[in-house]
Every structure is written in structure tokens, then in C-alpha cells.
């Protein structure tokens, strides 16, 4: 089992998966981030080698921190997805060492899936029992990135939609 920490959330992936924090890749941090006026990055790349599926996982945890960014949440996830795919392709050809080989393996996957892990604010309100209706966010995300993953998922610790990893 491989564990990766994103803020206060701990992600446990099954054995045999190749997982990494994409925004920590030297290729992204040092070279790709500021290309073409700036590129965003999703949090985690997870390659299920057996199933040959590449998972792009973005994490937002609003349990403690308020949301302040001007850009709409769903637009942000869509842009991060697009930018990350561009970064992976660039790393596959122009990265060095581990970045290059990791990108090579990632891009040999047969399936591409996008997951948005959204932990909601702990506010109690009758009108807004949940700040975001996950079904709304999921539907919007699927609209925005349909050619990338028409079945993108919005999940949280208590509703993981049968993905193979766990989050605590």
C-alpha cells in the first residue's frame, strides 16, 4: 500500500499502483509551470498498472479553509485537468530522468479517468445542508471535460463511488 498526504487528507492506494504528487515533479515545478503564461496542476497522478488506467485526482478540502479563489470551482478543476495532460505529454518527450519515464508509463495507460475529491465545509444550515450538491458539480464537470472523461467522478471520504483507494 502506498500512502500520499494531501493537506489533512491521507490517500492509501493499493499495492502495485504508481502514484505521485504531480505538482512536485521537477519538470512541472521548474520548467512547465510558467510555460505559455502559466499552467495549473492537479494534485495526484495514480496509475493502476493492472487495469491500465490513469487516474487524475484533484483534492479540495473545505472543512477548515474557506474558498477564496475568484475562478469558479468547476472551471478550476477543468483547467487543471487540461494543463496536467499537456504537462504529461511535454514531460514524456522533454522531461529527464524519473519524470520522463513516469510520464511514459502514465501515457501508456488504456483509460483516462478524472476524479475530484471534494470535502465540504462543516457548516450547519437548513438551506444548505451541503454547500455544493455533489451531483451538480459532477454533472458540470462532465460537461466541461467530456472529451477527456465523460464519466468524471466527484467523491468524498463518505462516498467513494467504488474507487480502489481509500482516504482518511
Amino acid at each position: 500500500m502506498t500512502t500520499l498526504q494531501v493537506g489533512n487528507l491521507s490517500f492509501q492506494f493499493p499495492d502495485g499502483w504508481e502514484v505521485s504528487q504531480y505538482d512536485e515533479w521537477p519538470f512541472y515545478k521548474n520548467r512547465f509551470k510558467d510555460t505559455c503564461g502559466g499552467n495549473k496542476a492537479i494534485d495526484l497522478l495514480a496509475l493502476d498498472r493492472e487495469d491500465r488506467t490513469l487516474w487524475l485526482i484533484e483534492v479540495k478540502d473545505y472543512r477548515q479553509y474557506a474558498r477564496e479563489k475568484e475562478i469558479e470551482l468547476w472551471d478550476e478543476i477543468a483547467l487543471k485537468t487540461r494543463d496536467t495532460l499537456a504537462g504529461l505529454v511535454a514531460a514524456r518527450f522533454n522531461g529527464v530522468n524519473a519524470d520522463r519515464t513516469q510520464a511514459q508509463r502514465a501515457l501508456r495507460a488504456h483509460r483516462l479517468r478524472v476524479v475530484f475529491h471534494l470535502e465540504q465545509p462543516i457548516k450547519s444550515s437548513k438551506l444548505f445542508p451541503r454547500a455544493f450538491d455533489p451531483a451538480n458539480v459532477q454533472q458540470k464537470l462532465r460537461q466541461l471535460i467530456r472529451p477527456i472523461d465523460p464519466h468524471a467522478l466527484v467523491i468524498e471520504r463518505n462516498a467513494m463511488a467504488n474507487v480502489s483507494w481509500t482516504v482518511t
Binding site: E72, D133, N136, P150
Partner: protein, 347 residues
Amino acid sequence: MLRSLHLRNFTVFPDAKFTFGRHLNVIIGENGLGKTHVLKAAYCMLAVSARGAKDSGNTNPTKSYLQVAMANKLRGVFKPDEIGRLARRQAGRNRSEVACHFDDSACDFEFSFNTASKSEVTIDQSPQAWTEDVPVYLPTRELLTIYPGFVSLYETTHLEFEETWRDTAILLGAPLAKGARERKIRELLQPLEEAMGGTVELDLSGRFYVRTQNGRFEMHLVAEGLRKLAMLARLIANGSLLDKGYLFWDEPDANLNPKLVKLIARTILNISQTGIQVFIATHSLFLLREIYILQQAEFHTIDTRHFSLRDGEEGVSVRQGETVEDIGEIALLDEELMQSERYIKLP
């Protein structure tokens, strides 16, 4: 089956073509984008054609009859000051054209008029045959409470109500269906009657009641949402909504709580499965999702089309596809999401 409707320079539409599904057609759009106009335009043509043989006294359609009947129907249903007011507003004279095509191309028919038309339309393509099935139009409100005497009043005085109300009121008064269709009717009615807690009755005095275990209740004493169910139940019970024909339903979700919307979604799919071609216009994300869930889980063979109306510089355009996912952005969803964003950003 109505295969397509083509609106050119008609009300808000510069050029919109709707290619319909065999069973269910869902029109989505914000207020003022012409959802109801689409339903009414198709309804007018079907209503004129379905009553053609009886009203004209001629088994074959004639242009002279259609010119008058179509113009009268448009005036009755849309209630414009003059027919020309239904042409799309833009500088200069403008010609408005409406065409519908059927599975049976002998029924195809087209008419047009221009901005200056007062009370006449031109029949550009006359059908070779009348359609047989009577369309049903359900407006946003129920009609059972206004039913007593409404039709005779409508026929004898000038009322500002739309003609769809009169047409549907006539159907509500039809006798209950008997014979082979009764079993299917019972199946469709059962969930509606469970929700109403009783059955719908038409008294000899011409008033509608809901009969429950505790006696019968005047329709005025029944909740608004349940009256809509009662109206639907009555049309099913008398066979107006069974096997074949068309249902146009403007905002089925209006005045209903989510529990009843869930029931309405199932009933819509049930009705369309019996062979009625259904057209609905809605604002309700809840209804859209309920239909989606039911289709994925049970109603796999329902042929559905979704239509999204959107406003642009050139006027209102339509985007269509099999599922909600195929028609791009949905204003309803975006507004809910933006509200969540505003909420989450509260200090």
C-alpha cells in the same frame, strides 16, 4: 409520430429545427426563450389535422379549409392581437414559416404568414391525409376546478383563456374507457390514485371530486399539486392518454413537491411507453434527473430527445441530443452551482 418541427422567423426563433424522439421529448430553457411556443406550435398543427376530417366534413384535406382552421387555431392558442404578431420581430417585413413532418409523410404540412397578416395564413404544403390521433395539451395549471360550465362558457362568450384550456376541458369530460384497455389503464392509474388517496369522479352536476375512504372531496378542497395528478388520472382513465397520440405538457413540475415530481416522471415514462409521443417543457433539474435515473434503471427502450434553447445575438437557437449531456450547458445547473459558490464564500 411527429418526426420534426421547423420554425423560421416564428416568435423568438430565427431558424430552429426540432427532430423529435419517438417516445419522449424534453425542452429545456430559461424563461422567455420560447419553450411553450414550441409546444403550442406543434400542438396547433396536430390539433387542426386531427379534427380536420370531422370539422371540415371532408375526408381529404383542402387548402381552403386549412387556411382558416390553422389561422383560427393559432389565434385561439397563442392569443396574439393579429397573426402577424407571431412573426419574429425585426426591422422590415418578415415572413414566418412553420413546417411539421410525420412518420407518414402524407400528413406533412407547412404554412406561413407575414408580419402584416391579420387573420390569415398561407398553406404552403397541404397534407394528403389527416392525422388520426388527438393531441392532449396540459397547461401549467390544473383545469378540474374551472371545468364546470367552462366549455359552454368558452363557446358562447369571449374569454381571454387560451384555447388549449378549452380543448383539454373537452377531453376531461369524455366518458371512462371500457373494454380491453381497462387493464393497462388500471396499471397506469394505480400509483396516481395512491398519491391522491382516492379516485377522480365527475359528478352529474359537472363538478370533479376525489373519492377517498373518508368520503368525497370537492376538487377545490384538494391541494393544487394533487389536482394536477387528478387531471392526468382522468385523461388516462378515459383513454385520452393511452396507446397512441400526443401529450404536450408545459412544466409538469409546476406546483408539485419533489415527491410528486418523482411520480410524475414515472408516469410520463409509462405513458410514453404505451405509445403516446410526449413533449414536455421544464425548468426542473429534479425532474430531468428523475427521468434520467428511471431511464438508466428501468426504461431502457424509451427513445428520448433533449432540446436546449439558448439566447444569442441572432435570436434563440436550439441544441439537441439524446441525453442532457449532449446539449451543452444547462442554465438551471449553472445557477444552482453559482449559488453554492456564493454560499461557500460567505464569511
